[in-house]
């Protein structure tokens, strides 16, 4: 692989220099259409792209191809239907081939396979180097021949750059497409073993019982209602915390605070926004949950050590800066003229804010809150570390509850058999999560956008 990159770099640099030179020589006999530099860039780009495409495709697909070939070799020793065992063996072959592990008898692989892996890796390297060189030289040759005095190198380069930009901007579309396709594909496979209705309306969530091979997709154990309830409860608590606090922060910062105060407070809120969720999770587990449990003891309430309340509170703190910065933008977008109009009539500042500014900003604030809800629904680490795993269907925030994101993590962390309904369930949950947040986002972004257009 390294050799391929080096060759590519050499090709691009020499391409640029040679093109520049050829054009400069041509320029002596008459005026060029484009400046020599563009000829150089033209050749460099033509040398780069074919090679780059080869390397990228190779990087993405080489290991898959090699794995498939090795697995064919392992045909006799491995149970074809057991994906888990396959990947474990494959991993061993890889480690030995890279000299990270020494081969011994009870590994279930032979030296032959290892050697074959090494050969394959080596020939893959040679192949990609040769291919890059070939592709690069082809591109170089093609572009070299096109250079002459009348050649519109600048236009050609700009056309290529434009194509590049279009390609780059379509990557985000492919990401969305990838999310949708992968989630839907795995979810459909999940629903092949567990009925949709059981998943959406079932009241029991205990995926552990269903892992035994003889009762794949055990009935009723994949009911996601308790997860939805937990997500709703924790999100609700967090919004109850974040909405008033965040909103009042935004109001104070945009309407009352002096510029000096704003200059110090805003970065502080940004720090709050920049704290990783895993730290919030630790904070919840380390400080907030024990505090709530102690408080419960004092008041005689029965509080679980991993209560929904603790997770919700900390999540609320996490989204305070989110709510406040979005609302701040929205409130600042309210025209000053309206405030002046109200103040000039002898309204106090609070009256102006409550009766004029906030009603004007309301749609934007609603949008901000919807985005905050979507953020809370998709938040993972805080709940993983503080909310617990038990799928309780309860309305008591002092009990442990679990959420969609927590279950995705528990289902997928650790070595899993990829095809079991248990892991596939994670994708079904992921799809649900994606749909919920997508709907919230579309509504929120629509509302905010319309609001800004109005102002």
């Amino acid at each position: 692989m390294h050799a391929a990159w080096i060759i590519l770099a050499i090709l691009v640099i020499t391409g640029f220099l040679l093109g520049n030179h050829k054009a400069a020589v041509l320029a002596r006999s008459g005026k060029l259409h484009s400046r020599p530099r563009y000829h150089g860039v033209f050749i460099a780009l033509w040398s780069l792209f074919p090679g780059l495409m080869v390397v990228t495709l190779f990087a993405l697909f080489a290991s898959w191809t090699i794995d498939t070939m090795i697995l064919k070799d392992l045909h006799g020793t491995v149970d074809q239907t057991n994906a888990m065992e396959q990947s474990v063996l494959l991993n061993k072959v890889k480690l030995v081939a890279e000299n990270k592990m020494t081969l011994n008898e009870d590994m279930g692989i032979t030296m032959e396979t290892v050697l074959r892996m090494q050969t394959l890796n080596r020939s893959a390297d040679t192949l990609v180097t040769a291919l890059v060189m070939g592709a690069g030289l082809l591109g170089f040759g093609y572009s070299w021949n096109r250079i002459h005095r009348e050649f519109r190198a600048r236009q050609e380069v700009e056309k290529m750059v434009r194509i590049l930009l279009v390609a780059a901007s379509s990557v985000s579309l492919f990401i969305t497409l990838g999310i949708v396709l992968s989630l839907i594909f795995e979810t459909l496979r999940f629903f092949a073993s567990v009925p949709v209705t059981d998943f959406l309306f079932g009241l029991q969530w205990s995926p552990q019982t269903a892992i035994r091979a003889d009762q794949v997709g055990g009935t009723g154990s994949f009911g996601a209602i308790p997860l939805f309830a937990g997500t709703l409860m924790i999100t609700g608590i967090s919004i109850l915390v974040a909405a008033p606090v965040g909103l009042f922060c935004a109001i104070y910062l945009s309407e009352f605070a002096s510029p000096q105060v704003r200059r110090w407070i805003k970065p502080a809120l940004e720090i709050l926004a920049g704290i990783p969720t895993v730290v919030y999770g630790l904070f919840a587990a380390l400080a907030v949950a024990p505090a709530i449990a102690n408080l419960g003891k004092l008041t005689g309430l029965d509080v679980a050590s991993e209560s929904a309340l603790a997770a919700g509170l900390v999540m609320g703190i996490m989204i305070i800066p989110f709510v406040s910065s979005l609302s701040d933008d929205v409130i600042n977008a309210v025209p000053q003229a309206i405030r002046d109009g109200s103040l000039a009539m002898g309204a106090t500042q609070a009256e102006t804010i409550r009766q004029v500014v906030l009603p004007a900003a309301l749609p934007g604030i609603v949008g901000a809150l919807l985005l905050a809800i979507s953020r809370a629904v998709g938040e993972t680490m805080i709940v993983v570390m503080a909310a617990g795993l038990a799928a309780n269907l309860t309305a008591n925030p002092l009990q442990a509850m679990t959420t969609v994101t927590v279950q995705i993590v528990t289902l997928l962390v650790g070595d899993q058999e990829f095809d079991s309904p248990k892991t596939l369930a994670a994708f079904a949950l992921g799809l649900t999560l994606f749909c919920i947040t997508l709907i919230l986002n579309i509504i929120a972004l629509g509302v905010v956008r319309r609001y800004h257009e109005q102002q």
Binding site: V166, I275, A350, V409, T437
Partner: protein, 427 residues
């Protein structure tokens, strides 16, 4: 005419209104107070629980570097020194330090005062100083995590003996060591130089930091060019229409997709479909790049937007092509803003945990990764892993690693704020 103060009735009404206004202002201050005091509480909790992780209980022993035990081949080669019996040397040193201990059970307990990693510490030292062979040296060695907790006072000393890990006898030995100045809290170098370990006193964050660096490198290399190209295209080249609207809506929505969904995509795409190596920074970086791309595009577009149209018009009027306008004028002027946006997105990627759990970066990995295809973990995931560990000693490690992560993040954010305030041009 009523004076400016108004009639008594008006004054009463006014006083009420002003009180309401003050109250409202106080709600704002209270809101900020809640937000900022939680921030302080969080930072204080982490500092308070975490700063002890930077220190470690160490025991000074007189180590007799006996040649027959430590250099079995007798040629001072690294290989030969690597096969020495350092455990035995430690035992001798302890026997020498505590001649009164001769009961087998007690000797075992005495041994437990030192870290399980002490032999390998000795080995590293000897490899660096082969001239120490056949001499005796005063060496500071890491104590076990139980001793560490005992010295730091994390475990209350008045607990009944069976409820604590340090027995009365061990406590006595420690007291005598302390008296002789042979038990001290010293700078915890293993914490900064080691990879993960099952022994809390040997566990360090270097592996995780290096994993984070490699992962971020991939994220940056993939998302920065793509993000800038997308933003430039959408802001400077595209004809506003259905296509650009579609791309824009898509990016805005993608920016709000929960990070864990990107993890699912990474799992399905890179691991299951393309068979890229599990737990590797390569896959982690690619996954985070997909997550970072939309925020990067949005930030870059904002800074491109802030460049006034007049500058583009000026360049166009001189006959510059669209590409030249962008390359010569718009990008240089938008660069500080783009830099700020990039730093902030990278900081976000650095703190991200959930998607990396999906692609197997949660494995227990002792080795320090050397390349982007080696199995590795990252700092936030390391925190998550340690937070889950039952050993008491991992608690301070967790908080300590959190402090390190926060220092990185706050530095990055402060840098971004600094650039925004100082370098960014205001039009």
């Amino acid at each position: 005419m009523s004076p400016l103060k108004g009639t008594p009735a008006q004054q009463k009404h006014l006083a009420k209104r002003h009180a309401a206004s003050r109250r409202f202002r106080w709600y704002g201050i209270a809101g900020l107070g809640i937000a900022l005091s939680t921030l302080l509480l969080l930072l204080a909790t982490m500092t308070f629980k975490g700063y002890t992780a930077f220190f470690q209980a160490r025991i000074q022993l007189t180590i007799p570097f006996e040649k027959p035990l430590l250099d079995p081949d007798g040629n001072l080669s690294q290989d030969s020194l690597g096969r020495g019996d350092y455990r035995a040397v430690l035992k001798n040193a302890l026997n020498h330090a505590f001649p009164e201990v001769n009961n087998r059970n007690d000797k075992l307990k005495l041994n437990k005062l030192l870290s399980d990693g002490a032999p390998s510490q000795l080995q590293t030292l000897l490899k660096d100083h082969p001239e120490w062979l056949s001499t005796s040296q005063e060496i500071w060695l890491s104590a076990s995590d139980d001793v560490d907790m005992w010295v730091k006072g994390v475990v209350p000393r008045d607990l009944p003996e069976q409820a604590r890990h340090i027995s009365d006898k061990q406590a006595q030995w420690l007291a005598s060591l302390e008296e002789n100045g042979r038990l001290q809290l010293r700078f915890n170098s293993p914490f900064f130089l080691n990879g993960d370990s099952r022994n809390p006193e040997m566990a360090g964050i270097l592996g995780a930091i290096k994993g984070s660096v490699l992962t971020l490198l991939i994220t940056f290399l993939v998302s920065f060019p793509l993000g800038v190209a997308t933003a430039v295209y959408l802001e400077e080249f595209v004809v506003k229409g259905r296509w650009s609207d579609f791309v824009e809506v898509n990016i805005n929505n993608l920016a709000a997709v929960p990070s864990i969904v990107f993890g699912l995509l990474g799992l399905a795409l890179y691991l299951n479909l393309l068979h890229l190596p599990r737990s590797a920074p390569l896959v982690g970086g690619l996954t985070l790049a997909m997550m970072t791309l939309p925020t990067l595009v949005i930030a870059t577009r904002a800074s491109l937007k802030s460049v006034p149209e007049a500058i583009r018009d000026g360049a166009r009027a001189l006959g510059a092509s669209p590409l030249q306008v962008v390359l010569h004028h718009v990008l240089p002027l938008a660069a500080p803003g783009m830099l700020t946006g990039t730093i902030i997105s990278m900081a976000r990627a650095l703190g991200e945990t959930a998607p990396l759990l999906m692609i197997g970066m949660v494995a227990f990995i002792m080795d320090i990764p050397g390349s982007v295809t080696d199995p590795a973990t990252v700092l936030p995931v390391q925190i998550f892993l340690w937070a889950d560990s039952p050993e008491r000693a991992f608690l301070e490690k967790t908080a300590g690693a959190t402090l390190v992560l926060l220092i990185f993040l706050i530095t990055m954010n402060a840098l971004a704020v600094y650039i925004r305030n100082r370098v960014e041009r205001r039009w």
